[in-house]
Symmetry: D2
Subunit: 269 residues, 4 copies
Amino acid sequence: MSLLTTKDGTRIYYEEHGDENRPSLVILNGIMMSTHSWATFLTDFSKHFRLILMDFRDQGRSERKQSQYHISVHVNDLVDLLDFLNISKGNIVGLSYGGQVAEMFAIKYPERVKSLVLANTPARITPYLAELGEAWKEAAMLYDGERFFKLAIPFIYSDLFYNRNLNWLKERQKTFKSTLNREWFEGFIRLISSNPDFNVLDELHKIECPTLLLGADRDIITPIEEIEMIHEKVKGSEFLVIKDAGHGAFLEKSGEFITAVIGFVLKNC
Amino acid sequence: MSLLTTKDGTRIYYEEHGDENRPSLVILNGIMMSTHSWATFLTDFSKHFRLILMDFRDQGRSERKQSQYHISVHVNDLVDLLDFLNISKGNIVGLSYGGQVAEMFAIKYPERVKSLVLANTPARITPYLAELGEAWKEAAMLYDGERFFKLAIPFIYSDLFYNRNLNWLKERQKTFKSTLNREWFEGFIRLISSNPDFNVLDELHKIECPTLLLGADRDIITPIEEIEMIHEKVKGSEFLVIKDAGHGAFLEKSGEFITAVIGFVLKNC
Amino acid sequence: MSLLTTKDGTRIYYEEHGDENRPSLVILNGIMMSTHSWATFLTDFSKHFRLILMDFRDQGRSERKQSQYHISVHVNDLVDLLDFLNISKGNIVGLSYGGQVAEMFAIKYPERVKSLVLANTPARITPYLAELGEAWKEAAMLYDGERFFKLAIPFIYSDLFYNRNLNWLKERQKTFKSTLNREWFEGFIRLISSNPDFNVLDELHKIECPTLLLGADRDIITPIEEIEMIHEKVKGSEFLVIKDAGHGAFLEKSGEFITAVIGFVLKNC
Amino acid sequence: MSLLTTKDGTRIYYEEHGDENRPSLVILNGIMMSTHSWATFLTDFSKHFRLILMDFRDQGRSERKQSQYHISVHVNDLVDLLDFLNISKGNIVGLSYGGQVAEMFAIKYPERVKSLVLANTPARITPYLAELGEAWKEAAMLYDGERFFKLAIPFIYSDLFYNRNLNWLKERQKTFKSTLNREWFEGFIRLISSNPDFNVLDELHKIECPTLLLGADRDIITPIEEIEMIHEKVKGSEFLVIKDAGHGAFLEKSGEFITAVIGFVLKNC
């Protein structure tokens, strides 16, 4: 358990797992996630990689900020962390919001990315995504973990996941209720407010490293068609679809997710 | 503009359009809809049909109730209306919640249904649907049309519809804000609370009239797989999918919806 | 049973069914079809329309030609037939190859098309379609109905149709064996050789009449994506997908096909 | 380049690549393939695995047989090869026909399979597949590589692959013409005739090793729904779909195929 103070003085939480002589695997969380979200993935990933997990500012155990920032600030934080860890060129995996950060990082610092995995990641905020952001902000402003769970989570997991894992989801709802405090919601609102203008479509051609795109057939937040646009612009990118899963595909179908990440990164090492 | 007082003393609003010698077309609304929702459909439908629109109790201009009821109560209301209008055997079109009522009606009174169109209609409340119901109830309990619109509507229309019709949706949001009052929300909550146990899968085989199922490829509320179950159980049923549309397919792709309804009903008259 | 001699002296077979005061419905066959293919559709269509069926030259009971022609020759034949029948403005339904003829007709004579239905129709011959044409030509040059059936038909009907209707298909195979003679194959080869350069993508915007596109989710000859291109170029066109069907959707799911055609044409009359 | 004489006296061609201390990867070819088909995959696979390629009897450089056999004979050949190579428990990858052999092997010798990858593999010969087999047999009996290519290959690769790789396909057609001799066709006919009754659906539950299913969204030979059946019966199996590819997905999208195989096998080692 470690904290890094970034150049702008923000304390960023990160974790390292696995042998440091192995290829790196740096995972950037989705907006509602944290390093905690990877607990059940540690064994598989640390067997093959030097695994680096981090919480964005306003996530998990990283520092809560007082004022609004732009999503690009996380790119700086990532640079600081990779510098500190002496990772000159990393294998970067980003999910959704974390994938947006990964896209910006790969566009700005192509020399620092050995391979890139973008899971359920958009290249732009469509009007629909902007409205979803508004819905989540509205739900967050109730400052009530249980109500937030009820209102926001049905967008994330597929109907199939709900139908098969209702008990688990009800437990999660209780966890949300007991752990999400006002500080968490304020951080979440800053995160969700950090990227209304996000659109890297015209810069994606700068990504020339091996790139894997992961989509899910029931993902309504980053539908296949939006990921297809990335596929067309990132030359040579691979594209795998996880079947019967929603936006939370990494969790709904964790086996397939781990298979794809391990295979793609090791192939390109 | 007419009101019928049903056998249990409830005032039900209904409208008739078109020549009464034409084949009937009785439309049952989705849960957030009302007879108003059909304004732009009147010309096409009344050219070919004796069109009957009605508001369920707690919808539109029908009476608001004080106590909770079961969804099956609407079946009785429909019987009373058809009796009053001297429609011994009607062509029934139901959307979503209205489709559930249509299913129950066709199962209980097969002799009164000439043909049946079920648009974006489930045959059972899955755990996911139940949770969606909870989310909508939660959103309704804010008693604020604008916030309700923000929280509930992104489940209904597809991302593509949002991306192409944002201005129209923003206008709708204003209408929700100005017109949805406490009375409306209380009615909506009763409607959404009326069918937690809904499941007619084992009775669908009793439907023997010509039946058309309409689905939409981006409908997450009644996904294609759920409609497929109806298709398997209703012998000889037809199944058309509206492409690039969500649960609100009748509005997102009104041309295709009208085409399918007119064609199916006239073919079977 | 009637023959019309066209302006260039070719005898074209056509049929009329239904009351001639009803709206017209002119059906243009797919390449392996003939007026015979519509036997089981006559009742439904003639109830609502003045139904006109025709065999293209080299099809069914129309004249076999000795020399190669371009697909556009059928447009002239269609003009001659409509003139003869006094149909100044018709409702045109084209399937596949017949849909290509319908596209050319609607582009060249927009004033003569009241509404247009394009079922499983391409707007261009892709390299894949050209190779399929070569495969069919190769199969035809065996001049053996049974072997032709075995080699060519699995491209047309979906696996699901084969799995559910194997006996019917085996009967069809026998019919092919007993009825397809050298003359038929030579005609088929001319038809399949008449459109290697077909591409109307840049002219589709000239189609301004009500247009319905019918696709099928398992159609590999005219996949959804190709039809999507037409949808984008023909302003206001409707698009319905027939589920669980291949290129032979009109037969695999005849109910859905009839529903869509009746509804669309009557709506626009 | 090595030949193994199996217990029944058949010479089976096989190849070994990569460090023999690495995890094994035993690849079983599709019906039209041979060890040659893997030329461009050697680098990626041999970096991570002790790669074993083999030609089934009647394939590639293995012995041509004179009489018909059942597909299960290859299971015996595989046992002999693994015994000879001292592979007590292997990672088995099967494609299509090779996947059927892999299924039978895993069902009969579960203790010898460490992990299993079934790519574009059916669990049963449906009526449609049987008819496809007849079509291919018919095409093979022309004993002409060019005509065989024209008639049989459009079932295998997707339209998108044809549209993007026409020149490559035309080169392949020339290779077929120059290399497929009567001996090859007779072998192919025996292979395609070896499994008319294949159906392991009721035995799939015996497969308990880690299993990855690979499908392709445009595969008409082993459509997603057929693979879904395997997914339901093999407990804990993973399922990845390769987008925009047909039955020849391993070649159409070789990057995605290699990613999935490397990731899945290494994860389970």
